[in-house]
Amino acid sequence: MKVRSSVFASFCLILEVLGIGLFLRGFFPVPIKSSFTSKSQLSDLPTEPGFTGSSHNSSKLPEPLFKRVVIVLIDALREDFVFGPNGRNDMPYIRHLVERGSTHSFVAKARAPTVTMPRIKALTTGSIPGFIDVVMNLNSPAILEDNLIWQAKTAGKKMVFYGDDTWIKLFPKHFMEYDGTTSFFVSDYTEVDNNVTRHLDSTLKRDDWDILILHYLGLDHIGHISGPHSSLIQPKLLEMDDILKKIHGSLILKEAEGTLPYLLVLCGDHGMSETGSHGGSSEHEVNTPLVLISPAFKRKGGMEKPSTIEQVDLAPTLALGLGLPISQNSVGRFIQPVADEASLRDQLRFLHLNGHQLSCLLKDSMPAYEKEEGYEHFRVAEKSHGNWLKLMVEGNTSEVLTNMGKKVLKQYLEALRAMSAALSKQLGRYDMYSMVVGMVLVFQLLLLLLLAMPEALSSTSQVDLPVASALLSLPFYLLCLLLSSVHVLVCTSAESSCYFCSLSWGLVFGVVAISSALLCILVAMVAKRIPLMSKVSGKSPAHSGYGWSLSELDVLLLAGTAGHTLSLTASSFVEEEHQVWYFLLNTLCLAVFQDVCRKYFRESRANTRGIGHSEDEDQLLPIQDREATVSPLADFGVTDAGSEKWLALVTPPLTLACCRMLRSLNQTGVQWAHLPDLGHWLNSSEHKMVLSLIAAMSLVLIYFLVQRRCSWVSKIALALGLLGVFSYRAAVGNTMFPWQHGGRKLSKGTVEARFVYVFVLGILFTGSKDLLRSQVITADARLKSRGLWEIYSGVVLLVALLFRPHNLPVLCCCLLVQTLMAQFIWKKLHYDAAQTTIMHYWFGQAFFYFQGNSNSIATVDISVGFVGLESYVEAPAVFLTALSTYAGPLLWAAHLVCYLSSENRSSVAVGHGCYCLALLRSVPMAAYVVLVTVLRYHLFIWSVFSPKLMYESMHTLLTAAICLFFTTMEQKRSTSRS
């Protein structure tokens, strides 16, 4: 089956987007969220089961177990540092307490990623945070969901915190007293801890706090420097042991008769691997110790093997122990041994509260919650709890009652275990099966695109896909069968929930069929290529690269694309990706400059000396005779070849200068983002006049650059629209008119923005009308290119409205560079469609960063979603935000369509451009998907790689849409020809 290469490319990209969607669904599990928007309150708590009235104070929480809590969190404290054979020497005091004192000790399992920030979230909220949470709480580092610290603060508990300043960022204004230390200098492991300990003596003497939290970073730093077996570890652990001894001693001294006891908690946020790092999910990174010390517990008789619990269990335990409601999204369960010494009624009450909270969460997160095993257990336990209470209130105190109570307790524990397991199954785990299926799809499509390259870029621009033969062959059916059975096997044996398994059979079979068909096609194409290749290499071994002679520019373009893909493996290069693009773009401009110089100077030399020209020189030779007929300069009033030469020579340096200026307009990235830039300078209130001037000048320039090829209706609409943009900015207060001098009331500018929207729609309408007319009525190429250009100018007007005023020069330079390059470089130097496309892509990427974007989610400008709207409406807000974020790549791609389909280009150029664009997007996307999978336990997976994955996926989606547009453009051309 023969398909045009643009159709082929769009088809590949659309399938690829599906594959990426599947991958993303597996990579970012959907978080479990309670449907309540408010946080848990004491008044919401359920009554004890069996009581219908409000008598007996049945809706109250039982008495808290503890009065004061001291939490000592030691970063990267591994389980065997305390419980292992070396624990006796390293932490003698704690070890003694664990063996002989009134303590409970556990191994608490942390979830991946074992990195401090999500671990603190897990410890305080009891939920397992996912990356989606980060996306949803855009720009806000503080925890917004229900958590222990918030509950304690609302209940009037006084909290003191010393240690890692992540806590202060997560809980601003929650602590009565705090001192944060940064973990910026990893090589410092004494000072960070001394900064925490120095407050200890004075704080312990005082009585005005209820909760004291200490977070020690030193151990983690030692781990990063020299690993878990270094000689530095023991002194550090001894130091920690001494601190714990001191705290414990002072707590014992403070202990008074008749008041509630204290609780001292020793825990770690995550462990450390054998090399000393963390982030992954190896045994040593996941297992942390949890030691609870309180006189309320029974004394131990000797060392017992600590039982294993989840890290999230601490949050509900502390909440109930302090008499606070459990936070809504907690999936942890109450650590029952803690309440061993309390009355049976209180114990049951604790478990009931925990069970109620979990069942609410289960109801919200699962449609079929009633069939869930844990939920049924909970219902049964609740009922028998009610019966037991009735008997107890009636005054029954027999042995039977105690036994019955114990049975209820067991039922509750079983129900909690099942519910918690069902909830955490959905959380914090990578769904590898869906990820692999998505990845396989993406890779098959990439290979298909690569294999089709010689045909897609040929002069016919048609790809011969052996679809029919592949679909009718036996291997296809065998593969379908095989893959289906693999699917059944995987799904029946999978423990955790899997998105791909939960899809309906029809969809799954569709994916299986597509994948096996692609595989068959790939094999068939390879089989077709191999004899061809061997023939070529057999015929002319000396010229193996026959027909593929590469110029320096080609080498640069290919090496740059490959190099950029490789650079994604380093987290710093992802953070500073703009530097890579600026660097490549600069080199590209210099290479183009060299090409231009070579063309004009060598020519003149050859002319003056009269030496014979080689072939390519002939091709490049004088403009006067060949292109005088279609001079693109007519509308500039320049017809002279000499001035054209100079304009061509000036274009690359001018582009370079523009890029340098734009680069200092918005500092982005991470390392140098804090440096002052022009954007800040312009936005400060003293420079409002300058900003207004620059914005006005940019708008005027934009008008002159865009209007050239529009019809007169669009010209007027464009002018009025740009005027509207300025008055919108004046209304919002960013800029001002010369005649106004402050004191004007600011509005939301809704009227002005809607005024502009009307013109945008008008221009787009005229453009599409022209396009339709060129297709249906007259086969006029000129009309078609005018229609395309009008659509392009509509997009430009919309972007001008959405861009902040200090970014208008970016848009202006974008148009200027496009105009100059198209006029003097791409046409004059006869760059082919593929080269032009790669250059457009590079420019698009660089302009993405010029406008102030970066690979972190924080730089997405959400305020754009409110332009011209009275209140937040999701669909237009998302559309506008996406449009303004990707304005750079979008404008360059749009220009590419206009340029390639302009009148005097060959008809296959659009097809080639579309194919190249698809390939350029697929290569980094496929590489990045694999990379993210490999690095899924990397320390920076959340902060650096995941946001980049979102950006890449969004970009691919956008490119797929652009390729579709390309395809329709080409279609119209070919139908109008025929």
């Binding site: 380093a570 987290s571 710093s572 290069f573 953070e575 500073e576 530097q579 890579v580 600026y582 660097f583 600069n586 080199t587 210099l590 110089c597 070579r598 100077f601 060598r602 030399r605 080689s614 370079l656 200068a657 890029c659 340098r660 680069r663 200092s664 990235g669 390392q671």
Partner: protein, 231 residues
């Protein structure tokens, strides 16, 4: 006027020239080496990272001196038509002017690549001086202050002698080295050689040394295929 009139390479003559080139390149490389070692002995507290500018200028100076001396002794540059003092002086002045312009050119290009405009102007200019001494100086020595010849050599198939080819390779390697040297700068390793312009100047010097080694070797390897058009 040109030493290679015929298209058929005269192998013995070639061998001699290649040997000449290899030994002169060895002297140049040792010059760079000495420029690193000698100040380390003489100046207390000298290090390539710590006192980077000192190292940079010592390398630039030694490369300049060695290049000028060697090419003057070898007499590679095209013989002058007029032998008057006036002409010689004008050639000298023009050479100096070109070198200065090349410093400014490199400085501009580096700033366009993103070096800060004002804050580290001295460092940037020093890098430009180093690049000039590694590239433009050799052009001046081999081709003389003749822009037409420079354009010829650096356009495709423009080399007319072994020295032209070696010039292309050395200049190309130095510039590519400096280009590659910029890559480690954004990495967050906090190493002393990531400070501007250490990695770039190190890269260019390493590229230069590579070029010095590769050029004679490559010419030796390809001496049968190489043909030079006569003027």
């Amino acid at each position: 006027m040109c030493r290679h009139q015929a298209n058929i390479p005269d192998l013995t003559m070639w061998d001699q020239e290649i040997r000449q080139m290899a030994s002169s390149h060895a002297i140049m490389a040792s010059g760079v080496f000495m420029a690193t070692v000698v100040p380390a002995v003489l100046v207390p507290g000298f290090s390539v990272y710590g006192t980077h500018l000192l190292w940079l200028y010592s390398v630039a100076g030694s490369v300049t001196v060695v290049n000028i001396t060697l090419f003057w002794l070898l007499g590679v540059s095209p013989p002058t038509k007029k032998n008057t003092l006036n002409y010689k002086v004008s050639r000298l002045v023009r050479s100096c002017l070109y070198l200065l312009l090349s410093c400014l050119f490199f400085h501009t290009v580096v700033v366009l690549y993103g070096a800060p405009l004002l804050e580290t102007a001295l460092e940037t200019f020093s890098l430009a001086v180093l690049l000039t001494s590694l590239t433009t100086l050799r052009c001046v020595c081999v081709l003389g202050p003749n822009v037409q010849a420079w354009i010829r050599v650096f356009s495709r198939h423009g080399a007319m002698s072994v020295w032209d080819t070696s010039l292309q390779m050395v200049v190309g390697c130095s510039i590519v080295g400096a280009w590659l040297g910029a890559f480690p700068i954004p990495l967050d390793w906090d190493r002393p050689w990531q400070v501007w312009p250490v990695s770039c100047s190190l890269g260019s010097v390493i590229g230069y040394l590579t070029g010095l080694v590769v050029a004679p070797a490559w010419i030796h390897w390809h001496r049968k295929q190489l043909t030079y058009k006569s003027k």
